[in-house]
């Protein structure tokens, strides 16, 4: 655990006093301190292209009165800097006369260990694996023209100091291993990307030469895409594979169920609580408590322990995801969903691991039931317009379905749909729920946070596929 003040001119008592003086007439707020160490080692074009290390230290001071948030952050942890921030907050909230809410739930559960993954594996052994990846792929097939592989690792220590001196701490490890390969055949080039990661040490993910499986998967995706034909254009049935394709759920439904958009009534879901928003059999949860997953958190960035929040139960909208601010203003409780990218950003209600639970049909049944459609196995990024509810995501591996059988692979196409209605088009839910491999980053208001997704195979009766073949 970091001691944030030992190199400064502040004692812990001074800090408590500044925090209490600043927040005494506010409804909520805290001093958030963060010490993060991160690294990235990149192999590209046959060489170690970069080896970077970053150490970042700073605080973010937040005061809330009614609906108004005042925030100030700095890298300099000193009496002068903290006092300046305090003055800045109080100048915004001049006339505040709130009552500070001291209540914050407690839990002893931890969902990952206090490790520093960067120090747990030597630079040389990381470089050695990256070189093995490069050699393995280039030897595997003469079509391989480019290999990029990387390790990124991080240890983030945080401390939250609330009015009255209560302190909440967390140490969060996070790693990711990624491989991208480009193949060329008859002048045509295609790439395949695959990665793994989560809140454990590098070696936990690399046991039994697991890097080879990552290479094989990236190679397989690129090979499939080399044979891909132009995607169809228009409205049709879509079968989604299990696991990572759940980013559809994340984009289409997840963002629209975040508390802030609903408090402000800018989400297409804001007046649908308790109503049927999905087909029967569709249950969606957002879970911060899955052991060592990328989107899991022991406590959120306001100090609230995370939980498993049921968003949609058997088709009915049950809960929004809340941070403390939006929960207070909507007369409910925080679901432990208050997150920020780092000390430079304010807290927003965000997703953790968003999952659709299993039903009882098989993927095979789904494909057999489709006359004309596509089967989407993997996706790149997605995006949503919260207000109109329209969302998109890009296929990185997909196949045509004709008369109940799989046809050729198709080129990367964007799928577009309508968030509030898409789940009503789900006509089959598979029995094969799977977690994603630990690679997701969600962007909102310029802040990226690590997230996870999971789902079984599902059949969607109607979606627009943005191909080029009419």
């Amino acid at each position: 655990m970091s001691n944030f003040f030992d190199k400064s001119d502040l004692t812990r008592k001074d800090v408590d006093k500044i925090v209490s003086d600043t927040l005494k007439n506010c409804d909520d707020g805290e001093l958030y301190l963060e010490d993060s160490k991160s690294e990235s080692i990149l192999l590209d074009d046959n060489t170690i292209k970069s080896s970077n290390y970053n150490s970042d230290l700073g605080f973010g001071f937040r005061a809330i009165s009614g609906e108004v948030v005042a925030y100030s952050h700095s890298n300099e942890i000193s009496r002068e800097s903290l006092k300046n921030s305090s003055a800045n907050l109080n100048s915004t909230l001049k006339s505040s006369n709130g009552t500070y809410n001291n209540e914050i739930p407690k839990s002893n559960k931890k969902y990952y260990n206090d490790i520093n993954p960067i120090e747990q594996k030597s630079l040389n052994s990381k470089i050695e694996i990256l070189n093995k990846v490069n050699n393995f792929l280039r030897k595997k097939d003469s079509k391989v023209k480019q290999v990029t592989a990387s390790f990124t690792g991080e240890q983030k220590s945080i401390e939250i100091i609330r009015l009255g001196g209560e302190a909440l701490t967390d140490v969060r490890p996070l790693i990711r291993f990624n491989v991208s390969v480009m193949l060329e055949k008859n002048g045509r080039k295609e790439t395949g990307v695959y990665g793994i990661g989560g809140r454990q040490s590098y070696d936990d993910y690399l046991k039994n030469d697991n890097w080879q499986n990552v290479c094989e998967e990236a190679f397989r995706i690129a090979s499939v895409n080399l044979e891909s034909k132009p995607a169809p254009a228009g409205e049709m049935k879509v079968v989604l594979g299990p696991g990572w394709p759940a980013i559809l759920i994340h984009e289409a439904i997840g963002h629209g169920l975040e508390g802030d958009f609903n408090r402000k009534k800018t989400s297409a879901f804001h007046n649908l609580m308790g109503q049927k928003v999905a087909s029967e059999g569709v249950t969606i949860v957002d879970d911060g408590t899955i052991d060592k997953r990328r989107g899991s958190l022991t406590i959120d960035d306001e100090g609230t322990p995370t939980e498993r929040t049921v968003l949609i139960e058997n088709g009915i909208l049950k809960n929004f995801m809340q941070d403390r601010l939006n929960a207070r203003l909507m007369n409910t409780r925080s679901t432990g969903s208050g997150r920020r990218e780092n000390y430079k950003h304010i807290v927003l209600p965000r997703m953790r691991n968003t999952m659709m639970l299993s039903g009882n049909q098989t993927q095979d049944e789904m494909i057999r039931s489709v006359d004309k459609g596509i089967f989407a196995v993997s996706f790149g990024g997605g995006q949503v317009d919260i207000t109109s509810g329209k969302f998109v995501f890009n296929c990185t591996e997909a196949y045509e379905i004709i008369n109940g059988t799989l046809g050729s692979p198709i080129k990367g196409a964007t799928l577009i749909g309508d968030g509030p209605s898409i789940l009503k088009e789900v006509s089959m839910v598979g029995n094969d729920m799977m977690l994603d491999p630990g690679i997701g980053t969600c962007g909102k208001a310029g802040q990226g946070v690590p997230v996870g997704v999971a789902q079984p195979s599902i059949l969607i009766d109607k979606m627009t596929v943005g191909g080029t073949k009419l």
């Binding site: 190199k7 590209d44 074009d45 060489t47 080896s51 290390y53 970053n54 150490s55 970042d56 230290l57 700073g58 609906e67 108004v68 948030v69 005042a70 925030y71 100030s72 952050h73 890298n75 800097s81 800045n88 100048s91 915004t92 630079l123 470089i127 480019q146 480009m182 045509r188 080039k189 790439t191 254009a233 228009g234 402000k264 009534k265 800018t266 430079k344 990024g381 995006q383 317009d385 919260i386 207000t387 109109s388 329209k390 969302f391 998109v392 995501f393 080129k411 990367g412 196409a413 964007t414 799928l415 577009i416 749909g417 309508d418 627009t464 943005g466 191909g467 080029t468 073949k469 009419l470």
Partner: protein
């Protein structure tokens, strides 16, 4: 106040000296500070104030052709010492790369022009609040507008770039940004749209009333959208979407994508990649330009580049490392473009709208559907159907798709270029794209 150049220079020199003492054969340091103050409004009330003070240092050390980098926000000398020791240790353990090097000394910027990028004016939060009040007043003048969110942000930055072959330069810059997002509702739909302004100098930003009015008008126009069928059709890209094509183009001509062989524009120098009459420039010395700079992230002088002349690709964006790989000299584009723009076309905006009896006018795209390896393009979109030059009705939930190789060859530009942002384009039409809808 943002840190003075002297302070940043002192830190940079300390690091250069220490790196040399600890065994680096070369090194390069960037020290920066920025202070941003933002006020957000929602439905005519104060919603958030945010003050952000960012210090940062980035250190790259070389031992012959081995290289490693480190960055931190903690500029205390004892921390810098620990970091440089770690950086040197990592450098020793990183394999050699024959292309690693600082830039050639002759290419470094010698004379630093004053591009008028810093406006010392400080606008107190109360003044920002006055601006936002006017803005939201004007945005909510129509009863269909049910929500407004606006923001005013002032940024002051200062940086120094120093390296071990004698370069040590930097400057201050400023930026003022105001934006408004409006949400409108009718019995059939809820829609959102926006407008923003961003300038180096306070007096150049758009008036608050205009910003509010424009965002409200754009939003209301989108209400009660219809769907469209799947078809091949010409598409007109509003300026704010058209400039996004230049982003993709810039990625595809970056020397890194070209040297790695992962760009659809690899080996296309002196080939015609755009339709006739298309000219693309990257001009770093525009006074008060948002992308203006005298040198790039390596200290190499940046001069105007004719990237495309009459449809023919003339230059890549070259940095030192990838330049050495490609046998090209750096043209001062480490870190990317400066002020990038399509030159004006020959037809007026009105004639462009009238050029086809039926055309889609796209005002927003969503998704990350640009693949620079293959050139494939597929994104979600929102816009309007135009018939005989007239806006008929809004449409949404459709996609547009094509391949940049073909799209670039079918571009027609209007003559309505304005220098509003760092990347600018006139209104653009691309013929023969595939739309997928209901």
């Amino acid at each position: 106040m943002v840190k003075e150049q002297d302070y940043l220079e002192k830190k940079a020199t300390y690091c250069l000296d220490l790196a040399k003492k600890l065994g680096a054969t070369n090194s390069s340091i960037i020290v920066s500070n920025s202070i941003t103050e933002t006020v957000n409004f929602r439905n005519k009330n104060l919603d958030e104030s945010n003050r952000s003070d960012n210090l940062g240092i980035s250190i790259t050390t070389y031992i012959d052709q081995k290289k490693s980098s480190i960055s931190s926000s903690n500029l205390l000398d004892h921390n810098l010492k620990i970091l440089i020791e770690k950086c040197i240790e990592t450098t020793k353990n990183t394999p050699e790369d024959e292309f690693n090097s600082l830039p050639e000394k002759e290419l470094l910027a010698k004379e630093i022009k004053d591009l008028n990028l810093f406006d010392i004016t400080h606008l107190e939060n109360d003044k920002k609040i006055e601006y936002l009040k006017l803005l939201e007043e004007s945005a909510s003048c129509n009863e269909k507008i049910i929500n407004t969110e606006s923001s005013f942000s002032e940024d002051k930055s200062s940086f120094i770039l120093a390296n071990s072959i004698g370069f040590c330069e930097g400057y201050k810059s400023s930026s003022f940004t105001a934006s408004c997002v409006a949400v409108a509702k009718d019995d059939k739909s809820m829609e959102r749209d926006y407008e923003y302004t961003n300038k180096c100098h306070l007096k150049d930003i758009k008036p608050a009333e205009d910003l509010g009015k424009i965002s409200a008008e754009l939003t209301i126009k989108k209400l009660s959208p219809q769907k469209i069928g799947s078809e091949k059709i010409s598409i007109i890209f509003d300026k704010r979407i058209a400039k996004g094509m230049l982003n993709t183009f810039a990625s595809a001509i970056s020397s890194s994508a070209v040297s790695r062989g992962t760009s659809f524009l690899k080996d296309k120098i002196n080939e015609k990649v755009f339709s006739d009459n298309i000219n693309v420039f990257d001009k770093p010395d525009i006074l008060k330009g948002l992308g203006s700079k005298s040198f790039d992230l390596e200290g190499v002088k940046s001069e105007t580049l004719d990237l495309v002349q009459q449809g023919v690709l003339k230059n890549y964006l070259v940095d030192t490392y990838n330049g050495r790989k490609l046998n090209l000299k750096s043209n001062g584009r480490c870190g990317g473009i400066s002020n990038l723009y399509f030159d004006n076309g020959k037809v007026s905006y009105k004639d462009l709208l009238n050029s086809n009896s039926r055309v889609l006018y796209v005002t927003e795209t969503i998704g990350h559907g640009s693949n620079i390896v293959t050139g494939d393009y597929s994104v979600g979109a929102t816009g309007f159907l135009l018939e005989d030059g007239e806006f008929k009705y809004p449409i949404n939930e459709f996609t547009i798709a094509g391949n940049f190789k073909d799209m670039f060859q079918n571009i027609t530009l209007a003559n309505d270029l304005e220098f509003e942002y760092a990347i600018n384009s006139p209104t653009m039409m691309i013929e023969g794209m595939v739309v997928a809808g209901k």
